[in-house]
């Protein structure tokens, strides 16, 4: 469904009613006007004829046609109507032309009687009898014929004017209504903004909403958010504890082999039955194995002490972007590309630790790469994967577990390679996995795989 603005929605909803209202108003007013005018015209014309009747009857008695014509002509020009004086059905005088005189007056064939008057075509016929109190003048009457065109045109003009005004008033009202609604919705919009701010983790509008119910809703949302945050923090804490216990378990697990190896070498060094060479080799490997164990414990201790995870449900894309931008600012000799298929992927993570892990991977990648490193984020059904791939030589896959455990030797300096171990620990702290494989170009591709929500 297409979204429309509030005004358009209100306007569209009111459209039909606007037209109907405007039409009905225009019709009612114009009909009322024409009815009133019509009634006034009929009464006025009848009064004119009645007022003239005594004088006209005198002239009819005298058969004074020239004077009758003169009087009728005068009334006609003032009343803007035609007048015909009929006596015994014959036209005695008329302002419509001489042709009609001394002929029978012909009423129009199609006529409608309204309020005591006759309408035919666009003419109004009003007839009043003339009576002489003293003499018999036969059946004498005056017919006043008015052109209704003017009334019709005026009625039409009024109709159009009222239609236009009603429509305009309706538009104005809907505009005012829209403004009022907008004003009324301001608290809702404020509420919406505050809720959005809460979601985005920003500061909310401190001024209370003017609608009490909405203020209650805002407070409830804020409290719910706080509780949710607290619950998340607690969950994160619980998870962190769980992950910490997992890390310890993992350390113990990882230590099993080297400790077992140490035991073996000690046993060999003390076994009388073993030849001297074997004894010597066993004796010589003891320090190395011990160092390895010590390194692993040191790395694990470092990880556990320094990399205390605080999980929060945040947009992991932002975290990846920050990391990439950070590295880009420092290193620009090789290409560092980023690829992601969504603007927002909410994943519980500790952005600081994850950035550290990513920075480590990216720095390693840039060091190992020939020309470019690609950082991509993929949102899959059950997990989110962050890939850091380079186009370098790649690593010996058999050594990867050693590096992940912190027993590996750094290729850069004569010291322990703790980066990958730290990264691995951080990923594990998130409940995820750090996976290595060689990519199609032969370079390294590390995948941080985190559980999806």
């Amino acid at each position: 469904m297409k979204q429309v603005t509030l005004f358009k929605h209100v306007s569209a909803s009111l459209n039909v009613y606007r037209w109907i209202t405007a039409f009905m108003t225009a019709i009612i007013v114009s009909v009322l006007f024409s009815g009133l005018f019509f009634n006034y015209k009929i009464n006025s014309d009848k009064k004119i004829i009645s007022a003239l009747s005594p004088y006209l009857s005198t002239l009819v008695v005298s058969s004074d046609r020239p004077e009758l014509m003169r009087v009728l002509k005068s009334v006609s020009s003032n009343a803007q109507s035609q007048l015909v004086l009929i006596q015994d059905d014959m036209v005695l005088a008329s302002t419509r032309g001489l042709e009609e005189l001394d002929r029978s007056f012909v009423w129009p064939s199609s006529q409608v009687q309204v309020l005591g008057a006759t309408i035919s075509g666009h003419s109004l016929f009003i007839s009043e009898d003339i009576k002489s109190p003293n003499q018999n003048i036969g059946a004498a009457s005056v017919v006043m014929i008015s052109d209704l065109s003017q009334i019709l045109w005026v009625t039409l003009a009024i109709f159009c004017s009222i239609l236009f005004l009603s429509f305009g008033a309706s538009l104005f009202l809907s505009y005012r209504t829209q403004k009022t609604i907008k004003k009324a919705l301001a608290p809702l919009e404020q509420l919406q903004s505050d809720i959005k701010s809460l979601i985005d983790g920003k500061e909310i509008e401190t001024s209370p909403l003017m609608i009490a119910e909405l203020e209650d809703i805002r407070n409830t949302v804020a409290q719910t958010k706080n509780k949710l945050d607290n619950a998340k923090d607690k969950l994160a804490e619980v998870k962190a504890k769980k992950l910490s216990a997992e890390a310890y378990k993992s350390l113990i697990h990882d230590l099993h082999n080297p400790v077992a190896a140490l035991r073996q070498m000690v046993s060999l060094s003390q076994d009388e039955t073993v030849d001297a060479e074997t004894k010597t080799e066993a004796m010589n490997s003891l320090p190395r194995i011990t160092d390895q164990i010590l390194n692993q414990v040191t790395a694990a201790k470092k990880n556990l002490e320094e990399n205390v995870v605080a999980l929060r449900e945040l947009n992991i894309i932002e975290c990846v972007k920050d990391s990439v931008n950070q590295i880009k600012a420092l290193e620009s000799s090789k290409k560092l590309l980023i690829d992601y298929n969504a603007d927002q992927i909410l994943v519980p993570h500790d952005p600081n630790l994850l950035k550290r892990a990513l920075n480590n991977l990216i720095e390693n990648g840039l060091e190992a790469a020939n020309s470019e490193v690609m950082v991509s984020v993929k949102n899959k059904d059950r997990h989110i994967s962050i890939f850091v791939s380079d186009d370098g030589q790649g690593m010996d896959e058999s050594l990867i577990p050693i590096y992940f455990q912190g027993r590996g030797q750094s290729g850069k300096a004569n010291r322990q390679a703790l980066g990958l171990s730290s990264t691995n620990h951080i990923v594990k702290s998130h409940g995820g996995k750090l996976i290595y494989r060689k990519n199609q170009h032969g370079g390294s591709s590390f995948e941080i795989r985190l559980e999806a929500l």
């Binding site: 058969s63 004074d64 046609r65 020239p66 003169r70 002509k73 005695l92 001489l98 005189l101």
Partner: protein
């Protein structure tokens, strides 16, 4: 067709069409109007026949005129004002009014013309008998002072006799051979042989140059007029009393209007047997007026009285019992105008119907000019005429029966009628005048000097190419031809189609 032949044809076509179109463009169209008789006179104060009045109204103008609805309008007078006592009427003349000679119309001309109308040589002096004095105030302002207020006087000044003529020329003996007026048209020529009168539009007419550039008045009979109209050689038959079902209306335009006219059979009380009142009354009762109307003029209106319909005095209700009177054996002659159509039928009709009632009636047709002579010298026993009004007031027709009026065709002498008319002229009260006139009319009816046949309805035939012709309720002679026009496109099409 080879090239040479095509070229010849083209030249022929161009040679035919171009001159036609040039003729159509250059030669102004002539408006041809039928009249039933050449005018008997062009002197306004001698006119009593329709033909003369019709021509006079084209050439001359008066101070006032009648609108189509019989309202008084200013003609040469720009404005007028009647004093409270009704005795002084002040006129202001239009500044732009000029005679056909180019001379301006002045108050001097007005005074000279009205004075002439009042003179003894005027046939219509009775109309102006109320004038006491005419005072010139300046070139354009003049007062007419009446002896007593006479309500119809302004109507008299709008009539056909009150025309203003140039003072400096009016006394020339040959003036009326080529008269000069201030009307819409100037007289170009009177061809007595062809019986045609040519008129030209007066370019300086104060209401603007008439749209008809040239007009030809052609004397014809009604039947000939209709034939010429069908042949599109005539544009105007308004002088003829056509019925609305006349087949001439199947082409052209019909303009219909009532007119202030009554068709009557006038009866001369000096000619036996009509010197007997009872015989006259019997004759009046026994003429089948309704049958005559229905048979010959079905769209006319039944006549209630002598005064035309729609005018004060037209609804006189009078009857007299003649059941115990017998028709005389003396021959009665009824004259009808020869120029009317169906005169043979009319003759047959009247003779047969009256014979059936015991009358010895002979109907004769007579040329109009002869009939008018007989009317004027009162030599006719009875005659059929249309009594038209020069102004819409009963007084105009009533004065015909004044004992002192030389125009009294019936020679009726009734002192009571004379007295009533005198009183009527002297009162300004409308109602009182009406009552006095009605009384006089009743007496006239009682005197049976007229058989009132019908009130005609004017059905004017005009060509489809004629525009703006508006009928006048008084008479067709008052149609304002200064506004009438010929549609040149219409005429050009007719020319091309011929």
């Amino acid at each position: 067709m080879n090239f040479k032949k095509q070229l010849v044809l083209l030249v022929f076509a161009v040679g035919t069409i171009v001159p036609l179109s040039l003729v159509a463009q250059e030669k102004p169209y002539i408006y041809v109007k039928s009249i039933y008789s050449m005018p008997l006179t062009l002197d306004p104060i001698q006119m009593s026949d329709v033909a003369s009045i019709a021509v006079g109204n084209l050439i001359y103008d008066g101070l006032l005129k009648f609108s189509p609805e019989l309202e008084l309008e200013g003609a040469l007078a720009e404005s007028w004002f009647t004093s409270k006592d009704g005795k002084v009427i002040s006129f202001k003349l239009r500044g732009q009014a000029v005679f056909h000679s180019g001379e301006p119309v002045t108050a001097e001309d007005v005074k000279a013309s009205l004075t002439r109308a009042m003179s003894n040589k005027s046939k219509v002096k009775n109309l102006y008998s109320s004038i006491k004095e005419i005072k010139i105030k300046d070139d354009k302002n003049i007062d007419v002072i009446l002896k007593k207020p006479f309500p119809p006087f302004l109507s008299v000044l709008a009539g056909s006799t009150a025309k203003i003529l140039p003072k400096t020329l009016i006394n020339n003996k040959s003036f009326f051979d080529q008269p000069i007026g201030s009307g819409a048209f100037t007289l170009e020529n009177i061809d007595k042989q062809k019986k045609e009168i040519s008129l030209n539009a007066f370019s300086s007419y104060y209401l603007g140059q008439p749209k008809i550039a040239k007009m030809l008045l052609k004397e014809t009979t009604e039947e000939v007029a209709v034939q010429l109209a069908k042949a599109e050689e005539l544009h105007d038959l308004s002088i003829w009393p056509l019925t609305e079902n006349n087949n001439v209306f199947s082409f052209g335009q019909k303009i219909s209007s009532p007119v202030a006219s009554t068709w009557i059979i006038g009866i001369n009380t000096t000619k036996p047997p009509f010197n007997d009142l009872k015989i006259r009354q019997l004759f009046k009762n026994q003429i089948p007026t309704e049958k005559f109307r229905i048979k010959f003029y079905p769209d006319a209106i039944k006549a209630n009285g002598y005064i035309p319909n729609g005018l004060v005095g037209s609804d006189i209700d009078f009857s007299v019992n003649t059941s115990n009177i017998k028709p005389p054996k003396t021959k009665v002659t009824l004259i009808i105008p020869k120029e009317l159509s169906r005169t043979d039928e009319m003759k047959e009709f009247f003779e047969t119907s009256m014979k059936q009632q015991g009358w010895n009636l002979e109907v004769k047709t007579m040329e109009w000019s002869q009939l008018m002579k007989g009317y004027a010298n009162k030599s006719l026993q009875s005659f059929l005429v249309s009594m038209n009004m020069d102004y819409p007031d009963a007084d105009f027709l009533l004065k015909n029966f004044e004992s002192s009026n030389s125009d009294n065709f019936s020679s009726l002498k009734n002192k009571e009628i004379d007295s009533l008319l005198k009183k009527s002229r002297e009162t300004q009260d409308r109602k009182e005048r009406e009552q006095l006139n009605k009384k006089a009319l009743s007496l006239i009816e009682e005197s049976a000097v007229t058989v009132n046949l019908f009130y005609p309805r004017a059905n004017y035939w005009i060509s489809k190419c004629v525009q703006n012709l508006k009928p006048n309720m008084l008479s067709e002679v008052y149609i304002d031809y200064s506004k009438v026009a010929l549609d040149e496109n219409c005429l050009a099409k007719k020319l091309v189609s011929k």
